[in-house]
Amino acid sequence: MKIQAIEPFEECIGDEYMKLIEFDTDISRAFIFYMSQFGEMEYHDSFTRPLFTLRIDNCFTFKGIQGFPTARLILNPDAIEENLKKFHDMCEQFEPEREYQLCQ
């Protein structure tokens, strides 16, 4: 998954560490499964628009909807750049052709 844009939230007290992430494609089920290996994944696939939240302690919370190209990233304010890079690297290493299992 390529990140196309990272925008701060406007009109929000946390705009330094709350980011809107825009990907080059819609978020797939496979990508959600892939990301689940890195932390605690909450995945509601029974919702009409499946919702996911990935929490990685002391790093970030990543939440979004399957089938949408944007998602939110709430970074640990103590290490914003470091965790942003970590998130970026995780996304880059996703292999769309590979099969992943959901880790919960």
Partner: protein, 194 residues
């Protein structure tokens, strides 16, 4: 109306509430905290007691306004959040009325108040009924005590019908016409133009 209130509440209730190491919960596009209801009720009671009779109305106004300010910004966070888009988004047919109905589903699911809209005249008037709300736990208040629902309800009308966020605050007012804390079966809140 397209909003399936019971489904909204059921699905939103499945979403985990989990704070970070500072107790902050990132949800609905904002950071919220989970605190005991009696903390807020005691806070309001102490402010009103300290204000005394001479400043009682002023203190009430400040409490209600604090809720409205919070409701305006948090309300905007709610209706633009992933959670709302996921659960309520597919049901929205008529904007902004369905969004308003959905917002009260969130309000209920997250424990602020079991409240729903019973009358809505777009851009003019909204009547909200609350069957259970934490401010009704207050014993023998001098006057109706649901400052949170009053403030949040007028803020929701601002979000729906005033100028686009963040420039539309303060165009509506809300009166509490029934109160569980005063012996009524439910709380009732009437929002009209200010």
């Amino acid at each position: 109306m397209a909003i399936d209130r019971s489904q909204v509440i059921s699905q939103l209730s499945q979403i985990k509430i989990k704070g970070d190491s500072n107790g902050m919960v990132p949800a609905f596009g904002v950071l919220v905290q989970q605190l005991p209801a009696n903390f807020w009720n005691s806070f309001s009671e102490k402010i009103l007691d300290a204000a005394g009779d001479a400043l009682y109305d002023d203190a009430e106004g400040l409490l209600e306004n604090a809720a409205a300010e919070c409701g305006y910004h948090t309300g905007y966070g709610i209706i633009t959040s992933e959670e709302f888009n996921s659960v309520v988004g597919p049901m929205i047919e008529n904007k902004p009325e369905d969004i308003l109905h959905g917002a009260y589903g969130v309000f209920t699911a997250w424990g602020w108040a079991n409240a729903e809209i019973t009358e809505l005249v777009p851009g003019e008037k909204m009547v909200v009924r609350a069957y259970d709300y934490y401010e009704s736990d207050v014993k023998n208040p001098k006057k109706p005590f649901a400052y949170m629902i009053r403030g949040v309800s007028r803020a929701f009308m601002d979000l729906a019908y005033s100028d686009p966020y963040p420039k539309g605050f303060g165009k509506f007012k809300c009166e509490q016409t029934k109160a569980i804390e005063k012996g009524d079966k439910y709380g009732e809140f009437v929002v009209t133009k200010a």
